[in-house]
Structures are given as structure tokens and as C-alpha cells.
């Protein structure tokens, strides 16, 4: 067998016609996904070998028509006209023939070689619909292949037909449909003018182009201007025809053309489709009686929202733990094998933490995409939009926006990264952008520890109630901001909500897995590299410049002074001579801790170590007041050294770029009551909100381990005269609303453009600042929390 040149085929079809299933069945996992230039519409393609022929399959976006109203339609149409695939395969839902043929007829009018794949023949049969494929093929003048893509029936036959057609190298043969004598005459006139023009390219069939002009297609009409003389004459004909049609038929030509096309389809199906007359409700209708019921519908929907939320975070918990363990293990390894210093810090705090920031989200994203794929593939997603439309419309959002908001933290503890990616289910670009700009306001899991710490410190009596209030606040801010955006920068005409409620279908595992995988892989590829870069940048900002030499020396001296005080203590000098012997003691303690003696009293290893260095062997006899003195002295030394170290880190942080920025920002944040320490931690929170607490700890020179940090910060802030409940609430509100974390910003970048990333930064900061300002000033005026 020989390869005889490659064939390019394009798959078109209505949404829900099973187009994706056909594409998956043809290409399996050999898919390549990219975006069409300039738009967020996905371009999926795959190469396959069928009987020795290389076939390049391109999956065009699902559309109902080939007009220029939606991005998807323009993308599909431009691809057909500009890329000129060898064959177009239109996937037609055989159980819903009339509406599906509407697209097929338009492709016939364009004239591009076409094969109609009559999908879902099993559903059609079960509904009592019989289609005469041979007759249909004769009437449409194209090959028709019946198939059931779900069970992979007919895929091979389809490919056979496609290759057979491609090998005849057919030219474009546009079909001519009559639109009534008035329109037909005008079409002929316009087509003749188009043929005359030297300027117009021959990519489009003349009559099709004429038809688009009469339909009022903006893209085609603007192309007329390329030939001013003929263009004007064509526009004149369009104007006259339109007036005449409105006068005689009372409708625009556009409407008449659609009616005639459906008339033509009715004539075709009358001759080819036999329906068993029946009025019984099918299964889908029965399910809808419950799932969209006025009373049960919303309750079930809430349940499903909760289930998705619970599933996403439950199923991803274990894998996230594995990843966390893996990254902390790697960090430990690097820490123990590399000498302390800038390089080690870069690898641990810059690179590994950065990678962890990217990959740590992967299980979460996969689980959420899996849950969403179930909703989409089963047909429930459309019902959600249907039930919530009335509410969300008021805020300028779409029913499906709710999904994204819940995943982002609508129930406390979500994550905005999958939330932003979930907005992909929204078709209208303005609704989608408005949604993804407001989801970072929701209370994601990383903000919760900050809230919890502040609430515990200042509102310990009403913890649950305050937490609940914060959830409500987040929803209110998100929805109201959406309303604001949709009536200002994202204002646009209300898009019509003419949406299909597809029949319920059991999703196929292959479909679910492919959906999940391709979306996750895209996130890692696109967001990953940038997040890593930013992570390193932020690490540098919080590390450099280091402390000046005299400060370094100061802390070094403070340290050795303190050690010397200990070494000179009575009884110590006999056993411990210098710093090295102290180090040996520490090593000994950790060795004993790791042995069987490490289990009981935490002080036992210390006692045993001291005993060993003093040469004693019998605890009964040898532990006297002298040894006790050494042990307690050593404990005190440890605490003091820790606080010297903490003070040094605090100083170092204040000296870095981030620290200086924090001080600089005090001018702006003073009205909110934030000092440089809060500012630094907020800067750190830009990398990931998890960083806020630990940075705040460093800034307050607390030296505790992460587990104890939350508690000691609570104590510290509660007793700090500069802090009060009002300041706590102001900070909570600010953290809730201010900049999205890096990973979220990169997800926004992936779904939109850098412009919107910048907008998101500025918008969120402004909202956060204003709200926090109002909060703090109003509180002060009312005399709260002082």
C-alpha cells in the first residue's frame, strides 16, 4: 500500500450532533489542540491513516448556521473558504433532521465537496423515524452515510466514502435554491456584477456571495468596498430589493431566505423521512419533568452544585497530598545536599515552590473538568443555564456563570484557577469575561487560613457566623461587580437566549477522559511556564538585596555573644567549650530523638544527650542539679538564638525590594491602617494567597513552625495595640478582593489576553482599596473597634 498524498477533511455540524464523538472515534488520542488566531475558539485536529491514505481531520466549532453572528460561525466559515479542505463532513443528527439539515443546505450552497454523516440513527429508529438514505443522497446530491458514532458504527464506511470522494478531485459545485422570484432575480443581477469585477477574488461562489449581501452579512458587505464602483451598484440593488420585499411580504429578505431554506428542507424530508405518529413523551422529556420542575428543579440543582464541589475537592485531596509530600521531600533533599546560600534558596523557594504552585493545582483542575464534562456531555449543563437565566441575567451574567463561581469558592474553600477555566462553557465573550473577572472575589481555599487566623484573634465568639457572612459578602461583591462591568466596560446588547435543551445522554468514558485530559494539559502548558517565571521573580524580590555587612555582623555578634554567655555559665564550661561542641550536642539530641527514646518526654533526649557529654552513665546517680542547670541553660539559649534569627529575618525582609515596596506603599495604605508588615505579606500573597500568613509571621519576627504560626500570630496581633477588630475586618475584606494570585492571572491570560490580565489587576485592586477604605473609615466614624 502506498501513501497517495494527504487529504484534509473538516468536520462540521450542529452542537449536540455528536460531532466531537465522531472526531474522537476517528482520531482517538492523536489530537492536537490550538486556538484559532485571535479568538478563544479551540481548533482541534488529528492525523490518521485510513487504508494507506493520510487523512488530516479538522474539527470545526459546532454551529447551527454559517452566518457571521458568532465567533464560532465566522471561524468555521473562514476555515472552509480560506483553507479549502478537500472534503467537508457534516455530522447530522438523524433524530433531529430538519434543523440539522439547515447547516448542510448552506454548505451545499457554498458548493464545497460534502459528505453527510447521518449520526444517531439508533435514536431516530427508537423514535420511530425512518430515513431513506438513498433518496436523501439523491435529493441533496451528496453521499450520505448512516452511522452511530457512540458505538463506532459507520466510522470506517464514512472514511471510505470521504476518500472515494476526495480521489475524484471534485470541484466546488454550489447548489441553487430558489428564494422566490423577487429575490432570485436580484441574486442573478448581483452575481453577474460580482463576476464582472476585476477586484473580487474567486474564493467565494458568486451566487453565495450575492445571497450573503442580501442577508445583510456584515463581513461580506464590507468586502464589497474593495471595488467601489460595482460595490455601490450591488448595495443599491440590495437596498431596492429589501424595500420591495418589506413592502410586499412584510419581512426582511434575511427572514424570507431562512423561511425558504426551511421550506426546501421540508420538501426534502417529506420525501425521505417516515415518522411513526406518536405523541408519547420520550425519556428525556420525562427526566425534564423532574429535573426542571418548578419546585424540585432548583433543589436538585443545588444538590448537584454541592456534589460537584464536594467531588472536586474530595477526589483531588489525596493526589494533592502526594504532590505536596513529593515537593516537600524534594525540598528536604535539596536542603540537606546543598550548602546554605542563595542558590539553595533559589531552588527551594523559587523553583520548587513555583513548580509546586503549577502542578499542585493539576489534580484539582482534572477533577473539576471531569465533573464539568459529565454535566456537559449528559446535557444537564443546558438545564442549569435555563433554570438560572432569570437571576443571572439581571447581573449581566449567564446561567452557567454560577458553576464557575461555586468552583472558585462560592462554597468556602474552592479555587479560582479551575473557576476561571470553567468559564469556557460560556458562549458569549462579554458574559465570559465578566464572569472570569469576578470569580477571584470568591473565598478560595488559600484565603481561608488568613480569615481563620484574623477571625480567631478578634471575633472568637462568633467564628462561624463571621465566616458565613464572609461567604455572603463574596457573592455580593462578585455579582455586583459583574453588574458594574456589564453596564460599563463590558456593556453589550443582550445576546438572545435561544438555546437548545439537548436530549439527556449517558456520557461515554472515552469522551469524558479526552475532555478532561486536553483541558488539563493546556493549563499546564500555557500557565505553567509563566507562573514559574513569576515565582522566581517574586522570590528575588523577597530575597534581594540582602542585609548590609554591618547588619549581618551585628546579628552574628549578637549570636556569638549570647552563646558565650551560655558557655561561661557555671558548670557548662567544664563540658562545652565552643560552638562546635554545641553543634555536636544538637546532633546528639536529634540522633536520640530519632531512636526509641524520642517517643516519650520531649525533654528526655536533651537530658540523655547532656548526660552522655558529661560522661555520666547512670541517670539515677549522675543527674544532679548541675546537669539540670546545663539543660535549662541550653533550652534558654535555643529560644534566644531563635528569636535573634527571627529578628534577623525580619530585618532582612524589610531590606529587600519587597520590604522597601511595602514601606513605600504605606503612604497609600495608611488610611486602611496597613503598615509595611501587612503590605509585604500582601505582596507575597500575589504569588499565592497561602504565602500571606507565613510572610506576616516573618514580618512580625515570629519563629514558629507553620503549624504553630497561626496560633502565635493570633496571640501576637490580639495583644498588639496597633491592631483591633476594625483593622482585622478591613484586612479580611482587602484580602478577599485584592489581586488574583499568579496562577489565576495566568488562567485569565489563557482564556483572554494580557489586556484583561492587566484590567483584572487594576480593577480588583481598585475595588479592594475602595471597599477596604469605606470599611475602615466608616468603622472609625461609627467608633467601632477603637
Amino acid at each position: 500500500m502506498t501513501l497517495s498524498g494527504s487529504i484534509t477533511i473538516a468536520l462540521t455540524g450542529n452542537p449536540n450532533s455528536g460531532k466531537t464523538t465522531v472526531f474522537n472515534a476517528m482520531t482517538g488520542a492523536r489530537q492536537h489542540i490550538a486556538n484559532y488566531p485571535g479568538v478563544t475558539v479551540e481548533k482541534k485536529s488529528g492525523k490518521i491513516i485510513h487504508k494507506g491514505h493520510e487523512v488530516n481531520v479538522v474539527d470545526l466549532p459546532g454551529t447551527y448556521s454559517l452566518t457571521a453572528y458568532s465567533v464560532e460561525e465566522i471561524v468555521a466559515r473562514d476555515f472552509l473558504i480560506n483553507e479549502r479542505p478537500d472534503v467537508v463532513v457534516d455530522i447530522v443528527d438523524g433524530s433531529n433532521l430538519d434543523r440539522n439539515l439547515y447547516l448542510a443546505v448552506q454548505i451545499r450552497e457554498l458548493g464545497i465537496p460534502l459528505v453527510v454523516a447521518l449520526n444517531m440513527m439508533d435514536v431516530a429508529e427508537s423514535r420511530g423515524t425512518a430515513v431513506d438514505c438513498k433518496r436523501l443522497s439523491e435529493l441533496l446530491e451528496v453521499p450520505v452515510v448512516p452511522m452511530v458514532a457512540r458505538s463506532k458504527v459507520g466510522i470506517q464506511e464514512l472514511l471510505d466514502k470521504v476518500i472515494e470522494l476526495a480521489q475524484t478531485r471534485p470541484g466546488w459545485k454550489p447548489a441553487t435554491i430558489s428564494y422566490g422570484s423577487d429575490i432570485d432575480i436580484s441574486l442573478d443581477k448581483i452575481a453577474a456584477l460580482i463576476e464582472q469585477s476585476e477586484v473580487y477574488d474567486r474564493k467565494y461562489p458568486a451566487r453565495w456571495r450575492a445571497l450573503k449581501c442580501l442577508e445583510g452579512d456584515n463581513q461580506m458587505i464590507s468586502l464589497l468596498k474593495r471595488d467601489p464602483v460595482i460595490g455601490l451598484r450591488i448595495e443599491e440593488i440590495c437596498k431596492v430589493t429589501t424595500r420591495h420585499i418589506i413592502d410586499t411580504l412584510g419581512d426582511e429578505p434575511e427572514a424570507i431566505i431562512t423561511d425558504y431554506r426551511y421550506g426546501y428542507i421540508a420538501a426534502v424530508t417529506r420525501n425521505t423521512v417516515k415518522r411513526r405518529i406518536e405523541s408519547r413523551l420520550d425519556l428525556s422529556d420525562k427526566i425534564d419533568k423532574v429535573l426542571t420542575n418548578r419546585f424540585f428543579g432548583p433543589i436538585i440543582m443545588m444538590g448537584i452544585f454541592y456534589a460537584i464541589y464536594a467531588f472536586t475537592f474530595w477526589a483531588s485531596e489525596e493526589p494533592m497530598n502526594w504532590l505536596e509530600t513529593f515537593f516537600s521531600y524534594t525540598k528536604d533533599m535539596v536542603n540537606s545536599f546543598m550548602p546554605e546560600g542563595v542558590l539553595q534558596s533559589l531552588i527551594v523557594s523559587g523553583i520548587i515552590d513555583g513548580l509546586g504552585g503549577v502542578l499542585g493545582f493539576v489534580p484539582l483542575i482534572m477533577c473539576m473538568f471531569f465533573a464539568i464534562a459529565i454535566l456537559e456531555d449528559s446535557g444537564y449543563m443546558a438545564r442549569m443555564a435555563y433554570m438560572l437565566d432569570r437571576v443571572m441575567r439581571w447581573f449581566g451574567l449567564h446561567g452557567n456563570s454560577v458553576m464557575a463561581m461555586i468552583v472558585s469558592g462560592g462554597i468556602s474553600g474552592g479555587c479560582a484557577v479551575p473557576g476561571v477555566l470553567a468559564t469556557r462553557t460560556l458562549m458569549d465573550p462579554k458574559e465570559r469575561i465578566a464572569t472570569l473577572l469576578v470569580v477571584p472575589f470568591m473565598n478560595c481555599g488559600a484565603k481561608l487560613p488568613v480569615f481563620a487566623m484574623l477571625i480567631a484573634a478578634f471575633f472568637s465568639n462568633n467564628q462561624t457566623r463571621v465566616m458565613f457572612l464572609l461567604t455572603i459578602l463574596a457573592w455580593a461583591f462578585a455579582l455586583l461587580s459583574a453588574k458594574l462591568l456589564r453596564s460599563t466596560v463590558l456593556r453589550g446588547p443582550k445576546t438572545p437566549f435561544v438555546m437548545e435543551l439537548p436530549p439527556y445522554r449517558l456520557p461515554t468514558l472515552q469522551g469524558l477522559l479526552i475532555h478532561t485530559w486536553e483541558r488539563t494539559a493546556q493549563y499546564v502548558k500555557k500557565a505553567g511556564t509563566v507562573i514559574l517565571g513569576f515565582s522566581i521573580l517574586l522570590w528575588a524580590a523577597m530575597t534581594f538585596p540582602g542585609l548590609p555587612q554591618e547588619k549581618e555582623d551585628f546579628f552574628k555578634r549578637a549570636r556569638s555573644d549570647r552563646i558565650n554567655v551560655f558557655l561561661k555559665e557555671e558548670g557548662v564550661d567544664a563540658y562545652l567549650k565552643d560552638e562546635d561542641s554545641l553543634k555536636r550536642l544538637e546532633v546528639l539530641i536529634s540522633e536520640i530523638k530519632a531512636s526509641k527514646f524520642g517517643q516519650g518526654d520531649p525533654l528526655l533526649p536533651l537530658a540523655m544527650a547532656v548526660l552522655r557529654i558529661t560522661g555520666g552513665s547512670n541517670p539515677e546517680r549522675d543527674i544532679g542539679p548541675q546537669l539540670e542547670g546545663i539543660a535549662t541553660g541550653f533550652l534558654r539559649l535555643r529560644i534566644d538564638l531563635k528569636s535573634i534569627e527571627a529578628e534577623k529575618r525580619q530585618n532582612a525582609l524589610g531590606h529587600t525590594v519587597a520590604g522597601r515596596l511595602g514601606r513605600l506603599l504605606e503612604h497609600i495604605t495608611k488610611p486602611l491602617g496597613f503598615d509595611y508588615r501587612v503590605n509585604i505579606s500582601l505582596i507575597g500573597g500575589f504569588a499565592a494567597k497561602e504565602v500571606i500568613l507565613s510572610t506576616l509571621g516573618t514580618a512580625y519576627s515570629l519563629s514558629d513552625s507553620e503549624q504553630e504560626l497561626e496560633y502565635s500570630l493570633q496571640e501576637r496581633l490580639r495583644n498588639d495595640p496597633g491592631w483591633n477588630p476594625l483593622k482585622a475586618i478591613t484586612l479580611i475584606v482587602f484580602v478577599m478582593l485584592y489581586v488574583p494570585c499568579m496562577a489565576t492571572l495566568m488562567s485569565i491570560r489563557k482564556e483572554t489576553s494580557w489586556m484583561w490580565v492587566g484590567f483584572s489587576l487594576v480593577f480588583n485592586l481598585t475595588v479592594a482599596y475602595l471597599v477596604a477604605m469605606i470599611c475602615s473609615q466608616a468603622g472609625r466614624i461609627l467608633g467601632l473597634g477603637v
Binding site: T67, N96, T129, E254, D288, P496, V498, E500
Partner: protein, 82 residues
């Protein structure tokens, strides 16, 4: 008795035949493209919990429209004799 009413005024489960669509522009186009053209039989399938949008069975599938959009569609229905 036959009577032409607005789709918005139709009751749940009521059947009828589309007579006229007065919407133009993008909305009119979308409505027609989905197969809501004159002489097409339809049946109201139900309404969302807040009574808007409305679900309509047309040809072999179910479509949802907002009330604003449904008011542009005139439907001939059987009215019971009083």
C-alpha cells in the same frame, strides 16, 4: 375556535402553529435559524422556576427562549369555546 396569540401568553403543554415572527436583526435570525419559521407546529414544554425562559418543543427538539423573545412570535392556537 382558532386564535393567533403571542407565544408568551401560551400555557404549559399548549400546542400551536407559528404564523408570524416579528423579530428582526440578530434575534430574528437566531430564532428562525433554529427552525422557528411560519407554519411550524410547536408545543410549550414548560417554564423555568422563575417563569422565564420558556421551553418549546419544535420539530424534533426542545428550545428555550426568554419571554422577551417569545413575545415576537405569533402562534395560532385552539381556544376553547367559552
Amino acid at each position: 375556535m382558532k386564535k393567533v396569540i403571542n407565544m408568551r401568553q401560551m400555557q404549559d403543554d399548549q400546542e400551536g402553529i407559528i404564523r408570524k415572527i416579528s423579530a428582526s436583526g440578530q434575534m430574528g435570525k437566531r430564532i428562525r435559524e433554529m427552525g422557528l419559521v411560519p407554519d411550524t407546529p410547536i408545543q410549550i414544554r414548560g417554564r423555568a422556576p422563575l417563569k422565564d425562559p420558556v421551553a418549546v418543543k419544535v420539530r424534533d427538539f426542545v428550545l428555550t427562549l426568554r419571554n422577551d423573545e417569545a413575545s415576537h412570535i405569533m402562534v395560532e392556537v385552539d381556544m376553547p369555546e367559552r
